[in-house]
C-alpha cells in the first residue's frame, strides 16, 4: 500500500527528532562509507609504518620510481591547467559575450570530451599524435610526438579543457556586462576594462576551473595508461596513477612487495593532492595579481583591429586541432580492414557488467546523495553541515586510483567485504557520490526557501513538502547529477583497476585487449563505449536545456 507508506513517512517527518535522526544516519553513512575508506590508507600507513619503511621507504630504487611518478603527475597537472587557463579565457568570452550562428553547435563541441570515456580518448591520442609500436595506424595519423610526457600532456589538455571553459563561462555569465561598459564610458579600452574590471570579479571561476582541471589531470588513469601502452611506454614512463595501474598489472617491480609500494604511492598522492589543492585555494584566493596598472596606449592598440580577431581565430583553431580532431581520430579505425574473426562476446559481457555497476552506483548515489545535499543546502548555519560540505570535495580531489586502493584495503583488511563486484561498486560510489551531492545541493541552494515555507504553512508535512514542491523544482538537477555519475562510472578505469585488474568493466577490458595485442577489437570497444556515452551525454544536455523552459 504505497499511499499509506508515504503518509506514514509524512507523519514521521513532522517530528523534529526523527528528522535529526534521519540526517544523522545519512551523515554517518557518508563518513563511514565514503570518507573513511577514501583516506583509510593514511591510517594504514601510520599503523604499518615500520613495515612500509622496511619494504619501500628504505629502498632507494623503488622510491626514486615513486617520487618520479608523483613529480610527473604534478608538473603535468600544473602545465595542463595553465595552458587550459590561457586558451580557456578567450573561449569563455566568446561563449558568453558573443552571439553568432552555430553557437549551439560550438557549445556541444566544447562538451564533447566530457562524453568521451578517457580510455577511448587515450587510445585515440596515442595513435594520432604518438608513434604506436604495434597498433595498426589508420590513415591520417600525424605520428609526430615521440616524448611520452608531451603525448600525455596533449591528452590531458583535451579532457580538462571543457571543465575550464565551463567554470569560467559560468562565472562570466553572472558578471553583469554593464560594469565593463561603465568602464568603457569612463575611457577604458575594451581590453583595459575587461582586465581591470571583469577579471578581478572572476576569481571564483578561476579557482573552480583551476581545481577541477588540476584534480582531473592528477587523477586520470585509464586514458593515460592506454596512451602509454599504445606507444609502448607503460612500463617505462609513469604518472602516479599509472604507476599503481602498472603495479596492479604486474608490469614493474616483479619481486618487491607490491601492496606496500601501492600503499606508499596512494598515501603520497592523497596527501600531496590535498595539500596542493589547499595551497591553490589559498594562493589564488588571497594573492592579488597586479590588476591596477594600466597601459592605455598599448591596450588600446590591442583592443582594436586584427588582434581581437586573431585571438578568436586562435581559440577556434585550438578547439578543433588540439581538442576535437584528435579525440575523434579513433573513428578512423573504421577505415582499417577488420580481422576475419571477431569475438564480440567479451565486449558484450564487459558492457553488461559496466552497465550493471554504473546502474547500481547511480541508484545508490541518488538515494543516499539527495538527502545529504538537502542537509548541506538547508542547514548552512550549522557547523556540522559546513564541515560535511567541505568533506564532500575530498573524493573529488583524491586521485581515483589511490581512492580505489584505499577503499579496497579498508574493507578487505577488516574482512567485511571480499566480493570483488561489491568492492568495485563501493569504489565507484565513493567518487561519483560528490557529483550528485554537489549538483543537487547547488540547485537546492538556488531555490528560495519560501516555497517550502509556503507549503508548510498550507499544511504540508516536511516529507510531503519535499515530494510535492522541492523535488519537482530540482528534479532536473538530480537527473543531471545521475547522468554525470553514470557516465563517470562507465568510463572509470583507475578506481576499478586499483580494486582489482580482474573486474571486467569495459575500460579494463580494453586495457586487457591492448596488453594482448588485440588492437582492432580494443578500438571497436572504445568506439562502442564512446557511442554509449554520447547517448547519455545528449540526454544530459536535453535535460538541462529543458529545465529553462518549463516555468
Amino acid at each position: 500500500m504505497p499511499m499509506s507508506l508515504t503518509k506514514r513517512i509524512d507523519d514521521l517527518s513532522s517530528r523534529r527528532d526523527i528528522r535529526s535522526g534521519w540526517f544523522g544516519i545519512i551523515t554517518l553513512f557518508f563518513l563511514a562509507f565514503i570518507i573513511l575508506p577514501t583516506v583509510y590508507v593514511l591510517i594504514f600507513g601510520i599503523m604499518d609504518f615500520q613495515n612500509l619503511s622496511n619494504m619501500v621507504l628504505d629502498d632507494p630504487e623503488v622510491m626514486s620510481l615513486v617520487w618520479g611518478a608523483v613529480f610527473t603527475s604534478f608538473s603535468l597537472a600544473l602545465i595542463v591547467t595553465i595552458i587550459d587557463l590561457i586558451v580557456g579565457i578567450p573561449m569563455a568570452w566568446i561563449m558568453v559575450r558573443k552571439q553568432f550562428r552555430g553557437k549551439k553547435l560550438l557549445d556541444t563541441l566544447i562538451d564533447m570530451p566530457l562524453a568521451f570515456p578517457t580510455a577511448a580518448l587515450g587510445f585515440s591520442i596515442g595513435i594520432f599524435w604518438g608513434l604506436p609500436v604495434e597498433a595498426p595506424v589508420p590513415p591520417g595519423a600525424l605520428g609526430i610526438v615521440a616524448s611520452p610526457y608531451i603525448l600525455i600532456m596533449l591528452l590531458h589538455i583535451i579532457f580538462t579543457y571543457p571543465y575550464m571553459v565551463r567554470s569560467l563561462s559560468a562565472i562570466l555569465e553572472q558578471i553583469d556586462q554593464s560594469y565593463e561598459e561603465a568602464g568603457m564610458t569612463l575611457g577604458a579600452s575594451r581590453m583595459t576594462a575587461a582586465r581591470t574590471i571583469t577579471l578581478p570579479l572572476f576569481r571564483a571561476g578561476l579557482i573552480t576551473g583551476f581545481i577541477l582541471c588540476f584534480a582531473r589531470s592528477l587523477s586520470e588513469t585509464g586514458g593515460t595508461f592506454i596512451a602509454l601502452i599504445t606507444v609502448g611506454q607503460a612500463d617505462k614512463f609513469f604518472t602516479g596513477p599509472t604507476l599503481i595501474a602498472a603495479l596492479k598489472n604486474d608490469l614493474v617491480l616483479g619481486t618487491t612487495d607490491v601492496e606496500a609500494v601501492l600503499a606508499v604511492v596512494s598515501i603520497i598522492l592523497i596527501i600531496t593532492a590535498i595539500i596542493f589543492l589547499l595551497i591553490i585555494k589559498f594562493v589564488l584566493g588571497r594573492v592579488g595579481v597586479p590588476f591596477d596598472k594600466v597601459w592605455p596606449r598599448w591596450e588600446r592598440v590591442l583592443s582594436r583591429g586584427a588582434v581581437p580577431k586573431a585571438k578568436d581565430v586562435v581559440s577556434f583553431v585550438w578547439l578543433f586541432a588540439i581538442v576535437i580532431i584528435p579525440s575523434f581520430f579513433i573513428f578512423a579505425y573504421l577505415l582499417v580492414p577488420s580481422p576475419a574473426d571477431m569475438d564480440w562476446s567479451g565486449l558484450l559481457d564487459a558492457l553488461a557488467y559496466s552497465f550493471m555497476v554504473a546502474g547500481v552506483v547511480t541508484l545508490a548515489d541518488i538515494v543516499l546523495g539527495v538527502p545529504l545535499a538537502l542537509y548541506i543546502a538547508r542547514h548552512k548555519d550549522k557547523k556540522l553541515a559546513q564541515a560535511v560540505d567541505s568533506l564532500v570535495n575530498i573524493p573529488l580531489i583524491v586521485p581515483t586510483t589511490a581512492l580505489g586502493f584505499s577503499l579496497a584495503l579498508f574493507w578487505t583488511t577488516q574482512g567485511l567485504v571480499t566480493n570483488l563486484t561489491v568492492l568495485v561498486i563501493m569504489a565507484h560510489i565513493a567518487f561519483t557520490y560528490p557529483l550528485v551531492v554537489r549538483n543537487v545541493a547547488g540547485a537546492v541552494m538556488e531555490v528560495d526557501p519560501s516555497y517550502e515555507e509556503a507549503a508548510r504553512t498550507l499544511g504540508a508535512k516536511p516529507f510531503a513538502t519535499f515530494r510535492t514542491v522541492l523535488f519537482p523544482i530540482v528534479r532536473s538537477a538530480v537527473l543531471a547529477g545521475a547522468i554525470l555519475a553514470f557516465t563517470r562510472s562507465l568510463g572509470e578505469t583507475g578506481a576499478t583497476v586499483a580494486v582489482s585488474p580482474d573486474a571486467n568493466t569495459v575500460p579494463v577490458y580494453i586495457i586487457g585487449l591492448m596488453n594482448t595485442g588485440d588492437y582492432y577489437l580494443a578500438a571497436v570497444s572504445a568506439m562502442v563505449l564512446i557511442m554509449v556515452s554520447f547517448v547519455f551525454m545528449f540526454g544530459l544536455r536535453y535535460v538541462i536545456r529543458r529545465e529553462g523552459g518549463t516555468y
Binding site: Y451, A454, R456, T457, L458
Partner: protein
C-alpha cells in the same frame, strides 16, 4: 475564530535580538498592521507567529492554546510571502488546491475550494496558467487565494505588496481588506509603508529595534502619537527643539532656540524649564503677520498643493503647505509662521538627541 496572544516573545540569534520581550494581543477579525523601518524585527515577529521560527523565549497562543511547539503545518495559518512564492511547477489551480489536498481532502473537494477562492479574487479564468505567465499583481492575488483556501482563519501578510508596481499596490491593498472583512479573517500585515498601513488597518503596531513603540488606530497614531518616533515615522512632521517657559491651566508656552514663544494647548504634564521637542505636521503650519520668522529656501509643486520649505530663525527646518491655486512665495522671501495650537504636540527631549531618536536604522 483566532485570538492570538504573544507573551514575552524573544527571538535571539547569538547576541543579536531580532525581537525582544514582545507582548501583544490580536483580537478576532482584526486587521492589524505591524509597521516599522526595515530591520525592526517585524518579519521576525510574524515568522514566530506562523511557526516558521521557534522563539528563543516566550510563547504564542492561538485561542488560548499554546502553539509555541506546534509544527508549522498544523497551525493552519495562511502566510503570504513578499516574493509571492507560488510553486513555479504547478498551474494556478494546483497551487490553490495544494492546501486542501495536504489536509487530506479529496481531489474534487479541493478543486471546489480552489475554485471558490479563485473566484473571490477574480482569478478563475487563470486556472490553467503557470505562475510565470501571470503579472505580479495577479500572482499575489492567487497567492492570497491559496493561503485562504487552506482554511486558515488567520492570514499573515509579509510585505505582500512591496514587489508590485505603485498603481497595482494601491488597488490590491483595498481589495485584500474588502476580502478579509467579508470572510471575517484575522490579518496580521507587515509593512514598512506607512501609507499602506494607514489605509487598511484597524490597528497599527509601530516597531523599532525589535520592540513595540506603540499601537493604536491609524487616526489616533496620526493625530496624537505618544512617541516622537511615531510622529516622525507616520506622516510628515516638523520637529523643533525648545524649553517650557510658562504654563497655565489650559496651555503651555514653548520657547524655541531663537526666543520665540509658541503657545501649545494641553500637554500639561510638563513643568517650566523642561527640555522639549515640539512636533507640528506641515498642514497645521500657517503664515501670519507675526510669529516665528523664517526664510523660504525651497518651493515644491506637489500637484494638489504647494510645499514650502523654510529655514526658521530658531535654526529649525519648518515646512508648510499652501493650496495649489494660491501664489507660492519666492525663494528667499521672509515669512512669519504660526502653528495650530490644538494640533501641536510636545515631547520630552530625548537624551540621545532628536536625530538619534528618529533614526530609521
Amino acid at each position: 475564530m483566532p485570538r492570538i496572544t504573544l507573551n514575552k516573545v524573544t527571538m535571539r540569534f547569538g547576541d543579536i535580538y531580532a525581537v525582544r520581550d514582545i507582548d501583544l494581543v490580536i483580537k478576532d477579525g482584526e486587521y492589524l498592521t505591524i509597521l516599522g523601518p526595515s530591520g525592526c524585527g517585524k518579519t521576525s515577529l510574524i515568522k514566530v507567529i506562523s511557526g516558521l521560527w521557534i522563539p528563543t523565549e516566550g510563547s504564542v497562543t492561538i485561542d488560548g492554546e499554546d502553539v509555541t511547539d506546534v509544527p508549522i503545518e498544523d497551525r493552519h495559518v495562511g502566510y503570504v510571502f513578499q516574493n509571492i512564492a507560488l510553486f513555479p511547477h504547478m498551474k494556478v489551480a494546483k497551487n490553490v488546491s495544494f492546501g486542501p489536498r495536504m489536509q487530506g481532502r479529496t481531489k474534487e473537494e479541493s478543486k471546489e475550494t480552489a475554485d471558490k477562492f479563485l473566484k473571490l479574487v477574480n482569478m478563475l479564468d487563470r486556472l490553467d496558467m503557470f505562475p510565470g505567465e501571470l503579472s505580479g499583481g495577479e500572482q499575489q492575488k492567487v497567492a492570497i487565494a491559496r493561503a485562504m483556501a487552506s482554511g486558515a482563519r488567520l492570514l499573515l501578510l509579509d510585505e505582500p505588496l512591496s514587489a508590485l508596481d505603485a498603481r497595482v499596490r494601491m488597488d490590491l491593498r483595498y481589495e485584500i481588506r474588502r476580502l478579509v472583512k467579508e470572510l471575517g479573517i484575522t490579518v496580521i500585515h507587515v509593512t514598512h509603508d506607512q501609507d499602506e498601513a494607514m489605509s487598511v488597518s484597524d490597528r497599527i503596531v509601530v516597531m523599532r529595534n525589535g520592540s513595540i513603540v506603540e499601537s493604536d488606530s491609524p487616526m489616533k497614531l496620526y493625530r496624537r502619537p505618544n512617541n516622537l518616533f511615531t510622529a516622525y515615522f507616520i506622516g510628515e512632521t516638523n520637529l523643533m527643539e525648545g524649553m517650557v517657559s510658562d504654563k497655565d491651566d489650559r496651555n503651555i508656552l514653548v520657547k524655541l532656540r531663537d526666543g520665540t514663544d509658541i503657545k501649545v494647548g494641553g500637554n500639561r504634564q510638563f513643568n517650566i524649564n523642561d527640555a522639549v521637542v515640539l512636533s507640528v505636521r506641515p498642514e497645521y503650519v500657517y503664515t501670519a503677520k507675526e510669529g516665528l520668522s523664517a526664510k523660504v529656501v525651497q518651493v515644491i509643486y506637489m500637484g494638489s498643493y504647494w510645499r514650502v520649505v523654510t529655514r526658521a530663525k530658531s535654526e529649525d527646518k519648518v515646512e508648510y503647505n499652501i493650496p495649489k491655486h494660491h501664489e507660492p512665495p519666492a525663494i528667499g522671501q521672509d515669512v512669519e509662521l504660526v502653528f495650530n495650537r490644538k494640533m501641536s504636540i510636545v515631547y520630552r527631549r530625548p537624551k540621545e538627541g532628536i536625530a538619534e531618536a528618529v533614526r530609521l536604522e
